[in-house]
């Protein structure tokens, strides 16, 4: 049996489970908030065109609108100023092979529960590797914080000094790119950077370094607690938007039942 036939068979039998890591596109799902003089990320919106009525007797459909960066979404290198001159930096230009790959999940949920500004650091990554093995080149690395279980105001966790949510330190991101050659970095929070990420040097280090190195970001992922630390395969294919800097996603993981 070929590998793909084997995969299909085991998917059908349930030996390989499909885990949905995607939030529902809901008009009330939070988006990133920037200072009001800046342009803002559009919320997801849906307008009914017809619903089996005088506007279209036999069919129902909606017009939808949103930002490239609304809901569970993909960040392409072109999203950040550090990646703007890279080749194949927009979602329509990225090699589609990059959209499917192995995934390492670093569980920071306990730390994030205790400290909303919890940082993923190099020693933490090395500690994870000591337990689960070295992060392979080309892997997605996901920071599990269980933040996707938060609802309402607790998700952005916005205060007068800005949002408070966990994220990687500049050194950790550099380590993952320079020492481990990762494909990209994904989080359960609204951005790959910590809520207070603008106060690092450089500001928003995950965006700055990842996209400057041609790597990708996955944001607003959900249910990372359903994934094993290693061994799963992540499928995250953005819409093919011309010159798009990102895209809403349906993120799926294939998990082998043990």
């Amino acid at each position: 049996m070929s590998t793909l036939t084997n995969l299909a068979t085991r998917l059908a039998s349930g030996e390989i489970r499909v885990v949905d890591l995607t939030h529902t596109l809901d008009p009330d799902f939070p988006v990133i908030i920037l200072p009001p003089e800046f342009g803002q990320c559009a919320r997801f919106r849906m307008e009914e065109i017809s619903a089996y009525d005088h506007r279209g007797p036999a069919w129902k459909w909606h017009n939808i609108s949103m930002s490239e960066h609304t809901g569970t979404h993909f960040d392409a290198p072109a999203h950040w100023i550090s990646g703007r001159d890279l080749p194949r930096a927009a979602v329509d230009e990225i090699d589609p092979a990059d959209f499917i790959g192995p995934v390492c999940v670093i569980d920071c949920s306990q730390g994030a529960a205790e400290d909303e500004d919890f940082e993923l650091t190099v020693p933490l990554i090395e500690g994870w590797e000591a337990a689960h093995g070295r992060i392979p080149a080309g892997a997605w690395v996901l920071m599990r914080t269980d933040w996707s279980k938060r609802r309402g105001a607790g998700y952005l966790n916005m205060r007068e000094d800005g949002p408070h949510s966990p994220g990687p330190t500049p050194e950790a991101i550099r380590f993952l790119i320079d020492q481990r050659d990762i494909r990209g970095f994904g989080v359960e929070t609204v951005g790959t950077d910590a809520g207070q990420g603008s106060h690092y040097t450089p500001p928003y280090p995950a965006h700055y370094y990842l996209h400057g190195a041609g790597r990708y970001g996955l944001q607003c992922l959900s249910d990372l607690d359903q994934l094993p630390p290693t061994g799963a395969v992540l499928i995250a294919a953005p819409l093919k938007i011309k010159n798009g800097t990102g895209s809403p996603l349906r993120v799926l993981a294939l998990v082998e039942e043990t």
Partner: protein, 418 residues
């Protein structure tokens, strides 16, 4: 004195709601000037420019000298009730449902004898104050009030019909995040509103005045005027007990066409200021229209808060002004569409506001939220259609009426250059 109005009992769910009926609407074109003045709370009649005679009823030629130069002027309200009757039967459904109805003639100090509705506290042959009010057909009628205020006089059934008084009514403030929401809630509460609802967009984003609204007892419910489903949902829940709707949702940013360079904020302005109004009206309008004669707490008014830039574009808020002009025009369509029910549309125009951060670089005067709230409540109590809050709004209104082109030229000065 008028018997104070009690809070209405809960509706009998086995009874059919009363369909709205209206007094007669037809007027001569000349008489519409009386309605136009009443729409902003003024009592005006024609005074002949040639012989000085004050005219009543409105006409096209002077009843004394046949001059056609009959400018409208505000009149002194004083007069004496000289005759009256109580109508006990009428072929008009509107009056049949409201019998008995007191009407009479008043000798105005200004000259003519006028027909007027008579307040219950006016004694026979008494001195009266004549005011012009809009009735449920949206037309100006004259009302003889007691010369000095009497206790609870606003509770007279006549006055309830000629106003949209918040007393005992349930009011929806559409955007709890609006800088004006807490002051509005306070003023409405003081005016006797029974319940104040406030729509809250994006509850995932904190804002300091939420606690203030909660402390006032405002019922905060989710609604975002840019999200059709959320508007429909709230209308489904409370549309049948929304007696007054005050649309406080507003998206405001500085900038015109060239200095922005994109359509991002303009889209938000249209989504909130124009389409938001449309979504609200499509969701809440039908039920409010259906309840326009539903007893003491009948649906009474739809209130739009509009920048006076709606009249003539006001830089540096050029694109925002355009969205306000759109909303203003839409409000006129709403007026026409609500007319058959008697539901009023009140537009409150104002200039730069104190509480909205975006006006911070502008010099005073600015309209405070408290002043705006007073204007809203006063306008509702007097049943107005157009309210001009603050010096800037009133000044621009006057200049617009004198000559819109001259105002436009003043508002679009290029500045001294080479």
């Amino acid at each position: 004195m008028t018997h104070p109005l009690s809070p209405p009992p809960k509706k009998d769910p086995q009874k059919r709601s009363v369909s709205p009926t209206r007094p007669p609407e037809v007027r001569s074109r000349a008489a519409l000037h009386l309605s136009a003045a009443a729409a902003e709370g003024r009592f005006a009649l024609q005074r002949c420019a040639d012989c000085g005679k004050v005219q009543y009823p409105p006409r096209d030629a002077c009843s004394a000298c046949l001059s056609t130069d009959l400018p409208w002027q505000d009149m002194a309200p004083g007069g004496t009730l000289i005759a009256e009757t109580t109508v006990r039967t009428s072929p008009r459904l509107y009056f049949r449902e409201r019998m008995p109805w007191r009407a009479g003639t008043v000798q105005l100090d200004a000259g003519p004898t006028v027909l007027a509705h008579i307040h219950g506290d006016v004694a026979r042959h008494a001195r009266v104050r004549v005011t012009a009010r809009l009735d449920q057909a949206g037309q100006g009628v004259l009302v003889a009030l007691p010369e000095t205020d009497t206790p609870n006089m606003e509770d007279d059934p006549l006055m309830r019909a000629l106003s949209a008084d918040p007393k005992h009514r349930r009011v929806l403030i559409t955007d709890a995040r609006s800088a004006q929401a807490p002051a509005l809630a306070r003023a409405l509460q003081k005016a006797g509103a029974a319940i104040i609802f406030a729509g809250e967009p994006e509850s995932w984003r904190p804002y300091p005045q939420r606690a203030e609204l909660e402390a006032l007892g405002v019922q905060i419910l989710p609604m975002d005027v840019t999200d059709t489903a959320s508007v429909q949902k709230l209308a489904g829940e409370i549309g049948g007990k929304t007696d007054i709707l005050i649309n406080t949702a507003r998206f405001l940013r500085p900038g015109g066409v060239l200095d922005r360079g994109d359509t991002g904020f303009a889209r938000d302005e249209l989504e909130v200021n124009y389409l938001g109004l449309m979504r609200l009206a499509q969701a809440f309008g039908p039920a409010m229209c259906a309840r326009a004669s539903d007893g003491v707490n009948a649906a009474a008014a739809w209130v739009n808060l509009l920048s006076v830039g709606a009249l003539s574009n006001a830089r540096p808020f050029g694109a925002y002004s355009a969205s306000q002009a759109g909303a203003y025009s839409l409000s006129q369509s709403l007026r026409a569409e609500f007319r058959p029910s008697g539901l009023r549309v009140m537009n409150v125009f104002f200039g730069p506001t104190e509480e909205d951060d975006w006006y911070q670089p502008l010099p005073p005067p600015r309209v405070t939220a408290a002043a705006l709230a007073r204007s809203v409540v006063d306008g509702l109590q007097r049943g107005l259609e157009d309210v001009w809050c603050g010096d800037i709004a009133q000044d621009l209104r006057d200049r617009f009426r004198r000559d819109p082109k001259v105002l436009e030229r003043e508002m679009t000065l290029g500045g001294e250059g080479a």
